[in-house]
């Protein structure tokens, strides 16, 4: 998400950066470009206008024109204002209520409420060690309840059964009672998708809200929504006391304008981003970091956090020890590294968060596909234990066998071995220099990849 907006904005910004002086004229021109970039990213028009007006006010003021580097100053103003619209810092779920803390989901049809319920249940259960129960009040869409039940089983949380013939409010009341009985910490209530113009359904969710008295009421919105995000967000915010927003389907190439619109219009923080179909694909939303990402400055903080969370610390430490002792880095270690990289969402996921990547042409990004990494793992898997420890053994006929076994060509095996050589050289340097740290190892790993990445700015 956000890439195209990033591209547009950062090229505008780039041009300004070098300028020694800014005239009112070129500020006007840049602002027009900023406006179009935002509109094309599906930011709702009223929000665009508000944003551009504020930037303009500050830009033509003393702040920018008098600064030594006016271009930089304007960039800062745009970044500040984007951050201001999106909120300052991440706001976590507030679950400080007498248990069960009730979380109510609301949104249009197909926004991704049910999937989000499952992801949220998993996140609260695994990361915050809460006892979670989920219940579906969607008595309208065929098989909606069955969908939640299946997902609840997958993520391993309690499911309160309901049936299509029941009244949603009754279901909700019974679920709360059951949650109390079973000493559940958090009860997440899924609801039917509804149009904001459907008075009967909006009234139903108001009744649900009154019956449940939830501590969190989350509005779920599809990141691909267009200008209508403004209307729907307003209608839902008017009907319900929302406490936060979940932005879903952010793993597509939507430019994320809906995030800005919804945040600006409801005034409620975006608390989570849904970024994939798997049940672990829910990330806390960090507005300041996203604003940086939009301006092409990367989101290194999230990357570091993700590395910390997903890397297998034991393996990493073993490797570090091994390298320090001057032992050889072998193909088994290389496979571990590659697998960890895949765990972190693969190359594409990593690149997304690195500074300056917004400007890479799409073609280069395409090249960094994870198929290559998978193939490398397959090649290593086709070797015997002995070969993995002593790659020097691999000569003509062994290489041919490995290629056959992994469904690749001998040339691919050669390429892998060459990359292995480079990596092991790097590792031996670490050993001597005493430098450790996963970031450096990772960078080494990536430099070795075919089609490599251009040097970072």
């Amino acid at each position: 998400m956000f890439e195209s907006l990033s591209q547009r904005l950062s090229s505008t910004v780039q041009r300004l950066r070098g300028r020694g002086r800014l005239t009112e004229e070129n500020i006007q021109e840049s602002l027009r470009e900023v406006r179009i970039a935002l509109l094309e990213a599906d930011v709702a028009l009223p929000v665009v206008q508000a944003l551009v007006d504020r930037v303009k006010m500050r830009a033509v003021g003393q702040e920018v024109l008098k600064s030594l580097t006016p271009g930089q100053a304007l960039v800062k103003v745009v970044s500040d204002e984007l951050t201001a619209v999106m909120g300052q810092t991440n706001e976590a779920l507030d679950l400080a209520a007498q248990p069960p803390a009730v979380v109510l989901m609301a949104g249009l049809q197909g926004a991704g409420k049910t999937t989000t319920v499952a992801k949220l249940a998993r996140l609260l259960g695994e990361r915050q060690k809460k006892k979670v129960m989920v219940v579906s009040c969607d008595v309208y869409r065929p098989a909606a309840i069955a969908q939640l039940q299946t997902l609840a089983e997958q993520v391993g949380v309690a499911f309160f059964p309901s049936e299509a013939g029941q009244d949603p409010v009754d279901i909700a009341r019974n679920a709360v009672a059951a949650a109390k009985r079973e000493l559940v910490d958090v009860l997440i209530v899924d609801t039917a998708g509804r149009l904001h113009v459907d008075e009967k359904m909006m009234e139903e969710i108001q009744r649900l809200h009154a019956a449940l008295n939830p501590i969190e009421t989350l509005f779920t919105v599809d990141a691909m929504t267009g200008q209508d995000a403004a209307n729907t967000a307003k209608a839902f915010a008017d009907a319900l006391p929302l406490t936060g927003v979940v932005l879903t389907k952010t793993d597509g190439d939507a430019r994320g304008g809906a995030a800005l619109s919804v945040r600006h219009i409801t005034g409620k923080p975006i608390k989570f981003l849904g970024a994939g179909e798997k049940t672990d694909a829910l990330e806390p939303f960090h507005p300041d970091r996203v604003a940086q990402r939009i301006l092409g400055m990367g989101d290194v903080l999230s990357l570091v956090e993700e590395v910390e969370r997903k890397v297998d610390h034991e393996k990493a430490q073993n490797l570090a020890k091994k390298v320090m002792k001057g032992k050889r880095f072998d193909l088994v270690d290389m496979r571990d590294q590659l697998e960890q990289m895949m765990n972190m969402g693969g190359l594409a996921g990593l690149m997304d968060k690195m500074p300056g990547m917004g400007q890479l042409p799409e073609a280069v990004k395409q090249k960094a596909n994870d198929g290559e990494v998978k193939r490398m793992i397959a090649i290593i898997n086709s070797m015997t234990q002995k070969e993995r420890r002593h790659p020097d053994l691999l000569k003509g006929s062994r290489k041919a066998r490995v290629a056959r076994g992994s469904g690749t060509q001998p040339a691919d095996v050669n390429r892998l071995l060459k990359q292995y050589m480079q990596m092991s050289k790097m590792m031996s340097k670490f050993g001597k220099g005493g430098g450790k740290g996963l970031m450096r190892q990772m960078r080494g790993a990536m430099k070795g990849m075919r089609g490599g990445m251009p040097p970072m700015r």
Binding site: Q109, Y140, Q154, H196, V197, N231, A254
Partner: protein, 364 residues
């Protein structure tokens, strides 16, 4: 939303309906859509009703395009804009551009439409705002007319329709409605539960199958989608069905692997029928913004989309992005979805669509 529009436009609405009654005689092609123009009174009583059950849904008199689309902010905005009978100047054109943009028509398309009108306004070609409205209507209709190509399923037997799209656009619901639509036309319909990924998607399609009383071929969650649809086509051939509608899992257009899977489905079907699938129907959520363009581009590349369905047009979103889609791809728009009832699917009609957004007559 209906009430707002009704209050202001009631007398005019009657007039318009009368006018279209005449038009029907001349243009039988439009009958299907225009037949069900309900009287305003009827519409008001049953306006935002929801129909969870088949019986109710079938009994509910379908609402017309104009009534549904007429309440949109787009239509309201445009209607209001012209009602004031403002002076013809650049401010009016700018306001028009703004309105088009807020309807998701897109910056480029909106600017192009308005810039085409600007010199004509300067040359004083239009006597009043009403004439300008006519010109804009014409421009809008002309953009959509080439993509108004109804789907003919009688050419093949069984006719294979593959329904694709991103997550949560309403594929399965659309299939339910499509099945109803074609059953009503006297065809023998079969469904294939090709969404083997999402939890309970198979059950959802089966429910639609029961409502319509049509057979659903399914293997359950986690099965190979291509194999389910292959089986279904074999079944459809041996049972001599007229139409096979195959569901697929929602997938974001950026996920290469999942997009390749669509290609596989098409390849596998060709083993049974070299021309299958005869229609690749892509469903687009009407509330989607400019991202719809990227969606269509990727799906088109992966599997060769042959028709579009725009859903969820019964809210305040107008799917202005169809103008951009028509410009860029020219893919036929087959149907639009106007609600959750089983009968809420209409063949696409460019003029009716624009009528709903920007009525022909000026309101007195």
């Amino acid at each position: 939303m209906l009430k707002f529009w009704k209050k202001k436009n009631d007398p005019a609405a009657d007039k318009r309906e009368a006018a279209h009654g005449d038009a029907d005689a001349e243009a039988p092609r439009d009958e299907a859509v225009r037949d069900d123009v309900a009287t305003p009174a009827e519409a008001e009583t049953e306006a935002p009703s929801r129909a969870p059950e088949t019986a109710e849904a079938a009994a509910e008199p379908p609402r017309s395009w104009r009534e549904r689309l007429g309440g949109s902010s787009f239509a309201r905005g445009l209607g209001g804009l012209f009602k004031r009978n403002p002076p013809l100047d650049d401010a009016l054109l700018d306001e028009l551009e703004t309105l088009l943009i807020t309807s998701d028509v897109g910056v480029t398309a909106s600017t192009a439409l308005v810039e085409a009108l600007r010199p004509r306004v300067r040359k004083r070609e239009f006597v009043d705002a009403g004439a300008l409205r006519q010109a804009l209507r014409q421009a809008l209709i002309e953009q959509l007319r080439p993509v108004q190509q109804p789907l003919d399923v009688s050419a093949r037997q069984p006719f294979v329709m593959l329904v694709v799209g991103v997550n949560g656009v309403g594929k399965t619901t659309t299939i339910g409605k499509l099945a109803h639509h074609h059953l009503a036309a006297g065809r023998k319909v079969m469904l294939a539960a090709g969404d083997t990924f999402r939890a309970a998607a198979v059950e959802q399609l089966k429910t639609w199958g029961e409502r319509n009383r049509v057979p659903v071929v399914a293997q359950g969650q986690g099965a190979d989608s291509a194999s389910v649809i292959f089986d279904a086509l074999q079944g459809a051939q041996s049972r001599k069905a007229d139409l096979l509608i195959a569901d697929t899992a929602g997938r974001l257009h950026t996920q290469g692997g999942l997009m390749d899977e669509l290609g596989k489905i098409a390849r596998v079907l060709k083993k049974l029928d070299p021309d299958a699938p005869h229609e690749v129907l892509m469903v687009i959520d009407g509330t989607t913004g400019q991202n719809a363009i990227s969606q269509v581009r990727q799906f088109h590349q992966a599997i060769g989309v042959t028709g579009l369905v725009v859903t969820k047009l019964d809210g305040t979103a107008r799917g202005g992005v169809v103008f951009a889609l028509a410009r860029e791809f020219g893919l036929p728009i087959r149907y639009i979805g106007l609600g959750e009832g089983i009968a809420d699917l209409r063949p696409f009609d460019a003029e009716a669509y624009v009528d709903g957004l920007l009525p022909a007559e000026t309101d007195a």
